[in-house]
Symmetry: D2
Subunit: 248 residues, 4 copies
């Protein structure tokens, strides 16, 4: 628990290579900006991985060395293979943390872990976004002011079709008239999951100091806790009584 978690920052990395407007904001890719933010917040084991690398950047070997995975995807959700999704999902069940960012709400892996459509309303219109802390005692709120002034962003509005989070840490306000549950904590198997809303590819949101602080806090919070192993899979055999049966 005391050593820093090993974080793999995964990015689809397509917009940056196909859309000059995005490349202008993230010349090294969104993953580079996120990784830099983690390092500046003291995370000492940070690597990146992208969709077009072998095994989509997420081989069993890479996942085995990953305590927390951050996920950014948007235009290529459909290119992520079911095999990749299954490898990631099983690692989450076994304890790996997963931080899903912005349009990752619609990724195969997030939908597979939530069990819901994960739909929402959205609008690209330079709404002003402000993110309010609604659980100031939560580790993910460490070092933050009572709200984060994000500035212009894509709007995401309710109803966000996810299960009620185990903890709701943030709620976004948008100038166009909407609200959104922006910081949602879940557990699946032994793995902790955090969904964090901001980060549309055309805005420099991942350079924002408070946004970076949130992602770093989430990486520490989501690191494997070291509890007992999850139930053996598959549960293909019975267990003996732990005690001699009492006389019923």
């Amino acid at each position: 628990m005391n050593s820093e978690p090993r974080v793999t920052v995964w990015n689809e990395y397509r917009h940056e290579q196909s859309h000059p407007a995005v490349a202008a904001v993230y010349p090294q890719g969104i993953h580079a900006a996120i990784a830099e933010g983690l390092r500046r917040n003291g995370l000492t084991h940070v690597r990146t991985a992208t969709l077009d690398e072998p095994e989509q950047g997420l081989s069993a070997a890479v996942l085995a060395e990953t305590d927390v995975l951050t996920w950014w995807g948007h235009m290529a959700h459909g290119d992520v293979t079911d095999a990749t999704v299954q490898r990631v999902r099983e690692r989450v069940w076994d304890g790996m943390g997963l931080i899903v960012l912005h349009s990752g709400h619609y990724s195969k892996i997030f939908k597979a872990l939530m069990g819901t459509p994960c739909e929402l309303y959205w609008r690209e219109a330079d709404d002003h976004e402000r993110i309010w802390v609604v659980d100031p005692g939560h580790p993910i709120a460490a070092g933050l002011p009572n709200h984060i002034e994000v500035g212009p962003e894509e709007m995401y509005g309710e109803h966000f079709d996810v299960p009620a989070p185990d903890h709701l840490v943030f709620i976004s306000w948008f100038s166009g008239g909407e609200v959104f549950r922006s910081g949602c904590c879940y557990t699946r198997g032994s793995g902790k999951i955090f969904y964090f809303r901001p980060g549309h590819e055309t805005y420099p949101t991942y350079f924002h100091a408070d946004v970076r602080r949130v992602i770093a806090n989430a990486a520490r919070w989501a690191a494997p806790a070291g509890g007992p192993p999850p139930t053996p899979r598959p549960s293909d055999r019975p267990v003996p009584p732990l005690e001699p049966m009492s006389g019923y």
Copy 2:
């Protein structure tokens, strides 16, 4: 909300036809015993459906007329088609209630809605089961004593690999030394889901008055509430600002 929900009691209905010991307990099938229990508790719109019927008993027409679906399956989980699972899942998202019974914890539909392996420990050894009420104010506990004396049953033990329930209504005690979260409430989309543990095919559990009361209470609790429709699927277009943008 005041009229009784339309309940479809679905059963795999294989053990009863292949295992004389099960047929001896449930000569008309587990579904018949569950349906009778619902009717005796005042549910007035109860039908049954089984796996070997056309469209596996769960056609779009049947689902469209179902407010709450109860699910019992065990030896044939693998025979339920992905198409059936998808039809049921979308109806749940749109508001249909789902009551998953006993070994249904390992069904495709339950795993798809939970996003976890749904594994557990188990033992067939005539453990004595007692189910304790831990949320006496919950509608599913209506009319119950502070615990249900089930008697001999198959043991299910923790860790039960599901998401933490939105409400935990029951916890089981087993004489062999285990406990189990036996009554778990969830919401997925607009649909309410209740998992209820007891009901191994070789025990007459679905004739137990308190067990029947729980299933009837759950059917009323899980009926569609009539709220706003869920977010349109797919969310394939932006929404206009609900208000003229303020001057940021």
Copy 3:
């Protein structure tokens, strides 16, 4: 569960008699407007009670005949006696529903049941309030659109210092830049509690059809469920083993 709950609408009833601006909005008192809204939504057993009545309108006899109590107070929280608070609290623990409205967040009874300061930020500046449904499957959202257009209201902003709600049904958006968890469900003992934000005394909010619908839905949701009695109080003696001790 099928018959309509007996609702007592309690109001401090001071502003209406001391502030002409409030009397102009609620000439018969806030309680009259709330009671009318409940009746128009089909509640058939609705009475009102106010602070300056004998026993502060909440005698043991009145409470014994009350399934759900709605609470509006603001300027006279300090005048509510500890004896009244204790009578109400014990009835909640025994199963009575409690709906706390607007400035009731700062009432003795709400703070005693929450265990927190129940503070918030506020502003009287005719902010525009819009209330978003974030749990469309919840009974309290029955019959609502995906958001309620309240219009000008007093602003309440986060952090709202309450325990994380068991269910969060609504989130408010305010034009001045804040958000607020506007519809919060809790259980204390066997009693259900719903906090609902809108209703400052200088605005005609309790005449709003959707606001009235919410309060009526909440009254039905909060009605006693009829489960097993709570643990005897005081627990002044041991219980015998429910089974002969096994041989440990």
Copy 4:
């Protein structure tokens, strides 16, 4: 977050001085055994305090230097002054962690923070207690097996009249036929609270390695997270709009 929290182990310390049977088990007092267990698990800033010390061992100065307070009380709950309760409660609201042990369920401070009677069923009959982990990914389960074999203990049974915990980490099994929610997490204000069941004064439970591990894990989990300060108390004035009002 990285440095070890400052823990104050508070004990009523009456049984040990008045009951030889208890003194035989805890010759230096229950607090000494708990403090030793924390130190053996790597906590480096551990102090003890008892009821009969000045200001009941919990002066403003002591509390100001306390990140996490552990509480054991039983026969003298009534001797704890309201002033002490209020000092502790306000520190919890401001972020201090609180770990309530065994019969502390019935302490003034726990009841004041829960808002419920906190009653339960109990029996002193050498029941065998086994504690099951039901949330293996939670930090409080770090380093544990899938269950803790406690051995003979006082029985606590459901219904335990507390709010549904934000996280349920443990469930106890008792040989006499009961279950109990043994590890319950809450947040009040910015402070985290953990209730842990075992530890009757006549059993050597606080010398049990796994029980000690749980209390040490809980101390680390409950340490202040360093988030934004809670809402100012009292909220006696309005806040200005954070933005120029939009044009409603």
